[in-house]
Symmetry: C2
Subunit: 233 residues, 2 copies
């Protein structure tokens, strides 16, 4: 049964050492989460940029890979496409557990997943560009909408982190939650959200920004980042 399904998913039945390929866009917070995970785990990968501004995600070749027309998409075992950022990070943690992004304790794992999902379901979908464009043609209204949802989510996140953070989001080890935090905070800055009420988030984000893996994964360090934006991200 499992072998049949792997065939249906176009997978080989044994893992190969093929290099991972990541369809990414420098400013996509979802692709950014996966880049952090790959960098933190020290996994080599090639980036294939998808220019969201040029609507490359809607081209038929890419929609065949991801019917949701979104980045990230990660190619593993040469030809299997993995989609959805948290599902991809969990896969990487299942297959490459040496540098873990989830704690062993079930309650702490739940907390890491809760924070990740708060961001991935509770904030990001409401402020991504497609949602903004669908909501309004008025740039001011788009900004108000994005600011409302990001502030709403970060306010809840601040309370959660006040309970359960250590040096990082959950305790003193970097986890999947931290992979989600950094790109979401970048979006808060991009949309000029008032983050003054979130000192715990700011403290953790500052610590993470000093980590080499997080620096390598940063939007401004991506091959598809236009030079004029380097200093603005």
């Amino acid at each position: 049964m499992e072998i049949d399904l792997r065939k249906k998913c176009n997978s080989s039945s044994t893992e190969t050492a093929a290099k991972l390929k990541l369809y990414s866009y420098f400013r996509s917070s979802c692709a950014w989460r996966v880049r952090i995970a790959l960098e933190y785990k020290g996994l080599p990968y090639d980036v294939i940029p998808i220019q969201l501004m040029r609507k490359e995600q809607f081209q038929s070749d890419f929609v065949k890979l991801n019917p949701m027309a979104q980045v990230p998409a990660l190619i593993v075992e040469e030809k299997v496409t993995l989609l959805q950022s948290l599902a991809i990070i969990e896969y990487l943690d299942d297959v490459y557990p040496n540098v873990p992004l989830l704690p062993k304790d079930p309650l702490l794992r739940a907390k890491v997943r809760e924070i990740s999902e708060l961001i991935a379901s509770g904030i990001q979908p409401l402020q991504n560009l497609r949602t903004l464009h669908k909501h309004s043609d008025d740039p001011n209204e788009k900004l108000r909408w994005a600011q409302f949802w990001i502030h709403n989510g970060l306010q809840a996140l601040e309370k959660t982190l006040t309970e359960c953070s250590g040096v990082y989001c959950v305790g003193n080890d970097i986890t999947m939650a931290d992979c989600c935090l950094v790109p979401q905070v970048a979006n808060a800055y991009r949309f000029k959200v008032d983050t003054s009420g979130f000192p715990v988030i700011a403290r953790i984000e500052k610590m993470l920004s000093e980590e080499p893996a997080f620096q390598r994964a940063h939007a401004s360090n991506q091959p598809d980042c236009p030079p004029e934006l380097y200093s603005k991200l």
Copy 2:
């Protein structure tokens, strides 16, 4: 360190046999996902209804439990609050693995999580009531918005399931993806989405609707479901 964190999360360091308590709302698709998981795993739990229409989720006692002011919230080990539906289901699978909701094969696990996340991040946040109210005061525009996002997501889901479904979403075993599918299809019906183009989704949903666990978890079987809605859900 872990013990400190468990203290910070108000947890005891050993698991107790305390009955699980689920803060739920009969029609919340996120709470519904968790009800299915609990019923499918045969775990006894008490339901504490939160009347979203009466805005009980914004009352201070509940916001202390969940700063996002959303259901579900699951109380485990007597006093630890778990939030976010997929994080809760993953916790239940970690702690009660006897009736699994995730396959063992990493690629199949990734597929289950991808489908779950497609629904939990790619559809539900965009069509939930708070988002609808924020988007527009016009009932027709609210309906158009909900229909657009649900149709968009189910269209992608149909393609994914065409590749990887068996009897259920991923192969022939019920998984977390199925816990997500049923409540999302119910929302599609509720918002009168044209689902005629999604035969695979319809086939799987029909199979699942015959499962006793799914029947027990159904919105119409909840203690807070008003009798006049029994036949309409």
